[in-house]
Symmetry: none
Subunit: 191 residues, 4 copies
DNA sequence: TATGAATGAGTCTTCATTCAT
DNA sequence: TATGAATGAAGACTCATTCAT
């Protein structure tokens, strides 16, 4: 039955606002404490570093997203193995993509921080990791295809390009003011 | 007929290296001066701010690129006005795109700074401006098309998406290790 | 019949380890609490200050040693007063010295803390006090001697020197890795 | 023709005073700047670290002393090699010892800092190095002796003891309020 | 043109200590 | 007995910028 918001929560809220406004590097812990109406020491009671504080906002959604991507990609591989692409399966997987988008919108702020405000922090290259994961997946997919249909191997650059494009598309939803509904339409149209 | 490299040049060279390595915010003017073997005062004789120094590396190529884009887009509009799209014109315009790519590779470092190392500076959102310009152009184009062929107006979001995608494509050439040749092939293929 | 080690004991053990490793100033109470798996508040329930905690480790052995020195020196004075130095008495006193060494080894850690890790605390000059006490004693001894044998008064500096040397010798046993046995041999040889 | 004392000098003077009063760790750079009537930035213009500042006071005398010790010991070895210890040589070497004392008194403050106020800095164990050097020298000396006179090898512990005692003696001159004259008398008497 | 000394606000972080519960 | 949240001053150090010469 607590009435007043906990200090940690106040800090997280203030941190989110400040990071969002100024970016990781340009944000000072002081300004966060001030906004949260809390002393420096209090901040350091709850968080180890500046980076830890940023991570506390952003880590979990990030990891969950990795997981969802993995699931999504494994789903696609299942479809591939079954040989025959039936409508139902396809749909199922498409739903996985949907789910990812929905999840990203659920943690819209957090992903915006990751994608546009993490410069200077450990997370500044997280996009590259998304691309990397996707590219690895595409490689498997592409090789299977080229083997099946006896076509030439797709070169790395092209693959990377597709992977990056893919991630770029999803990023756009967050970095620009796209609504969840618009995003879902896009997904349905393009995939 | 100067023999020794001028101080200003040494500073610019050092600045480019440091910014490239650490990014705008994380680079200290001190480190630049040190690398250039020049004193702080000297730096401030030639440049007003940190931002001015960064701008001295990056401003001109950036403006020139804006110009080239304008030209490119005006060219497309000319084609549009003439009503009949003749082969020759089209080629001409395609060559404009080529020229842009070539120009970007000529100032490869500078554009890399702009696209990936300008965080914290006045230029951190330059990509958005590219997109904006492109989008405005697309709007004109699209409206002309939809009027001509009596099709529905293309919504802003889609247009923005196309514009961003366009810019993204060009950015990729610079931010990733794409060679000029590969880039030109891509351009020829996709446009 | 307590089974679990008491909180206070855990704190003392942890404190000893930490102080020994890093010295008084460089050791933080936090690190002690962490090592003892105890909260800050608990520490402050049992101890008033950082210095109080350090004192709790070190005070008693220190005082006891002062006492032993006093005893030792009083013994020597007794011998002096009796005029005739009999073998038995001498031995007795030598045994007092022995006892001191043995006592120091019994609280080896504590004296090591006092002699090498107390910098920044109230105890940082404890060696000087040992020297002071010894010097006072030597003064009495020396004056009696010089009166008895009609020799010149020994000057303060020399006396201080002897006192300091004496204490230095005992310190060495603790600060360097001398075994109790070696120390006792040394004592027997030199005194 | 400067009239006002330079900033660097003011800083060094203030630093010496503060370190002398409170010791390395307990002294804050702020307090030094305040005493020197100089800003923090100024300090960091002249010195890299807190340790660098301390070193600027203390490094040179320390190194010079190492050198003098080396010379002194090499002198003793020369005497040894010549086989016959002639009075003149011995005197010469004794003069080397004298010179060391005189040098130490010349930089009395600096050596006091090193011997009693360097705790927490890189120099906190400098005494041990003195002892080490001396011990190594003694080893050579002792082995030569024991070979020459066919006596048993002196064990490491005893040697270390002598070395430490030696250094202790010299330290005393500085750490206690011994005058240069007293010290020189001591040296003449004991060596 | 350039020097280099100096500024001073600002950075993250640590710490002994307190106190309501 | 003990918790653990909170304080707030202080720490070393960095930086863009200025200015007399």
């Amino acid at each position: 039955m607590k009435e007043e918001t906990g200090t940690k929560e106040k800090l997280l809220v203030a941190a989110k606002e400040e990071f969002m406004e100024k970016g990781y590097t340009a944000t000072s812990l002081r300004s966060i404490c001030k906004k949260a109406d809390v002393t420096t020491g209090a901040l350091y009671f709850f968080f180890q570093h500046k980076e830890d504080l940023f991570g506390s906002l952003v880590q979990k959604p990030l990891e969950k997203l990795y997981e969802l991507m993995k699931l999504h990609y494994e789903g696609e591989l299942q479809v591939l193995k079954q040989g025959i692409v039936e409508k139902g399966d396809y749909t199922e997987n498409s739903e996985a993509a949907n789910f990812i988008v929905i999840y990203m919108f659920q943690y819209h702020d957090e992903f915006k921080l990751l994608l546009t405000k993490s410069d200077g922090s450990r997370y500044e290259n997280c996009i590259d990791e998304f691309v990397e994961i996707t590219q690895v997946h595409y490689r498997i997919l592409a090789d299977a295809m080229s083997k099946k249909y006896q076509v030439e191997r797709i070169d790395d650059y092209t693959l990377h390009w597709f992977a990056h494009l893919q991630i770029f598309t999803f990023s756009q939803f967050i970095t620009h003011n796209v609504t969840k509904e618009e995003a879902l339409v896009q997904i349905k149209t393009n995939f």
